[in-house]
């Protein structure tokens, strides 16, 4: 009896209710949560020739993670998340190109700030709508920014973008440009780790819980007096800031920025990556980005049409049969065949 004392400080009785136990356990660190980071470090030693691919991978993971916060946790269905990615990329790009600010870490913070401002201002008006209207408004906001970047070619380089951005050395010591892919990779990995720790903390905080509540049943959240609109707006702004960091990192590691940062292609790709991996789950972004980019890297160069066909079929199959993405599928299989773990609570959205 003495072993199973409740952790909540109430020493009277062990918590018998499995739901309560699951709720208390869900935010604890598990051993496998170290795996992505070990893999990230192993990648550095195992594939020194693929480090720029690794940077792309990290940028995609971070971008998908930011979308997960808005889409997977707050349930904001957006087709225009590249708006914030592009804002961050152009913030870093323009500051560096005109030699205003080239220090990489603070530049990323400025990118986050710029994207957060855009996210806050657009969210202030957009998030009052829902469904198709919201989808369209996010899409149009992104298209608006894309056209603005295209029109302001005196500042943004227009269609050609801004090439060969000068980025100052990291901590003033480590040279930062595409010739030093190892510096870039480790820097990107560090940024991703910091952002991930932030997102993980946020998601398991009371704030994150209320977001899940809003996604699952917005009426009830209104009814219990949760400030729904404000929470969603804050979440959207944070998500935009993270997407801005991803965009800034993308501009830094490529040393250029162009209109592709803002297009529908990028927004659709990140949506696919996230849903492929499984949204509303912290690690969906990781799984989705690894699988998508690996397939794209090796298939798209050789058989572009077959890649597109395969991707299309994969998306249709996932939408029809594996709503939770690859992680959701894995969890369902685990639950069916893995026996005991059925009491583990799923963080993701329940299938409709």
């Amino acid at each position: 009896m003495s072993v199973a004392v409740s952790r909540a400080g109430d020493a009277a009785a062990p918590i018998a209710n499995p739901a309560a136990r699951a709720l208390m356990r869900r935010h604890r660190l598990r051993w496998w949560e170290a795996l992505p980071w070990l893999a990230g470090i192993a990648f550095y030693f195992a594939f020194p020739d693929y480090l720029s691919f690794g940077c792309d991978l990290i940028v995609t993971i971070l971008f998908a993670l930011s979308l997960d916060l808005a889409l997977g946790y707050a349930g904001i269905i957006t087709l225009g998340h590249a708006a914030f990615f592009g804002t961050g990329a152009y913030a870093v790009g323009m500051l560096a190109s005109y030699n205003v600010w080239t220090e990489p870490i603070t530049a990323l913070l400025l990118a986050a700030l710029a994207a957060a401002v855009i996210g806050f201002l657009s969210g202030l008006v957009l998030l009052r709508t829902a469904g198709l209207t919201l989808l369209m408004l996010t899409l149009c906001t992104m298209a608006l920014l894309e056209q603005a970047a295209n029109m302001g070619h005196a500042y943004t380089g227009g269609f050609d973008g801004l090439p060969s951005l000068p980025i100052a050395p990291v901590f003033g010591v480590f040279e930062f440009n595409p010739l030093y892919a190892d510096t870039q990779y480790l820097f990107a990995l560090g940024v991703l780790f910091a952002c991930f720790v932030f997102v993980r903390t946020l998601v398991y905080s009371p704030f994150g819980q209320s977001l899940t509540g809003i996604r699952e049943n917005i009426l009830r959240m209104h009814a219990i007096g949760s400030p729904v609109r404000r929470r969603v707006l804050v979440c959207y702004t944070i998500s935009a800031a993270l997407a801005g960091i991803a965009g800034g990192l993308w501009a830094q590691t490529n040393a250029y920025v162009n209109l592709s940062a803002l297009g529908l292609d990028r927004a659709a790709t990140v949506l696919i990556v996230l849903i492929l991996g499984g949204y509303g789950r912290l690690y969906g972004a990781f799984i989705g980005a690894v699988i998508y980019l690996a397939l794209e890297h090796f298939l798209a160069q050789i058989y572009p049409t077959a890649w597109q066909l395969g991707l299309g079929l994969l998306l249709v199959l996932i939408a029809l049969f594996a709503r939770g993405g690859i992680l959701g599928l894995g969890e369902a299989l685990w639950r069916r065949y893995g026996g005991k773990l059925s009491q583990r609570r799923r963080d993701g959205p329940t299938a409709p």
Binding site: G131, L132, C140, T305, L309, A319, L320
Partner: protein
């Protein structure tokens, strides 16, 4: 005199382009309003129909009218198969799954057309009767554009009359307004879905062929014009034929004038207007349904 001709030219050209947008998008508006299904792959049906029409004329020597009929019915038939076997499973799913599914369909269509037909651009050979100029008294303008405008008006009128005056139109309106109540009244909603989906996709196919002149026709078509179709539908209002007609014509004229006078980035005004419009009236110009 010259200014009048200029303005008339812009308006006519814009109306013709807008008519194409209307013919393609009207089915999307009705099916979205009826089923609440976010069908991003609607443009893929337009592309499929467009290819049927152009290839029937260029390779199989079909007449224009016969090719249009083939485009309409061929696309409708394909859409019925897809609706029965795939779309139907997702009616009750979330928007996100629908978005993912239809983006997947777009990729499959793009890759399929690229593999079977090839990546190159297809051109529509207009019949001789439609390829000249028509003298309107104050201005001579391309016969085909005038033809499109007239056809579009007749189609809008026909669909509107069907909606307002026939039994099936009443059933559709009832289902858009309140699906459960319509079902309780004995309306076969499933059958209604299939019929309207087939009709809407057929119209899209028709529009893809009729508009090949204006919008072009290549495998990237469904992605290239996706935003335009969605703007028309969301500004026009879900389930509203008249709203979509007006929205398409306004967008057509605006786009035509902007690309003429502000070729670099003039479309920014279209997006800005769409955002303002949707913020002012989230349900569109004359949307019927609370989302």
């Amino acid at each position: 005199m010259n200014a009048v001709a200029d303005i008339a030219g812009i308006v006519l050209g814009g109306l013709a382009a807008g008519t194409v947008l209307f013919i393609v998008s009207v089915g999307l508006s009705v099916t979205m309003g009826l089923m609440g299904f976010v069908n991003l792959a609607h443009g893929a049906f337009a592309m499929f129909g467009g290819y049927l029409i152009v290839l029937a004329m260029n390779r199989a020597q079909y007449g224009f009218a016969a090719a249009l009929a083939l485009g309409f019915f061929g696309t409708a038939a394909l859409s019925v198969v897809l609706e029965r076997f795939l779309y139907r499973r997702l009616y009750r799913a979330g928007e996100l799954d629908q978005v993912l599914f239809t983006i997947g369909l777009i990729f499959i269509f793009i890759a399929g057309i690229t593999i079977v037909i090839g990546p190159e651009h297809q051109t529509l050979q207009l019949p001789a009767a439609l390829s000249g100029q028509l003298n309107l008294g104050f201005i001579a303008y391309r016969t085909y554009s005038i033809f499109l405008i007239v056809i579009g008006f007749l189609i809008a009128l026909g669909i509107w009359l069907t909606f307002e005056r026939t039994r099936i139109g009443g059933q559709i309106r009832a289902t858009v307004d309140n699906r459960r109540m319509a079902e309780s009244l004995g309306i076969d909603v499933d059958r209604l879905f299939t019929i309207t989906f087939a009709f809407g996709s057929g119209m899209a196919g028709l529009g893809g062929g009729l508009g090949a002149e204006f919008l072009g026709l290549d495998p990237q078509y469904p992605l290239e014009y996706l935003v335009y179709f969605l703007i028309v539908v969301s500004v026009g209002g879900l389930g509203s034929v008249i709203g979509v007609y007006y929205a398409a014509l306004i967008l057509g004229v605006l786009n035509f004038a902007l690309t003429l006078y502000l070729p670099k980035g003039g479309t920014i005004f279209i997006y800005a207007l769409t955002i303002l419009m949707l913020l002012a009236r989230p349900r569109g110009l004359s949307g019927r349904k609370e989302q």
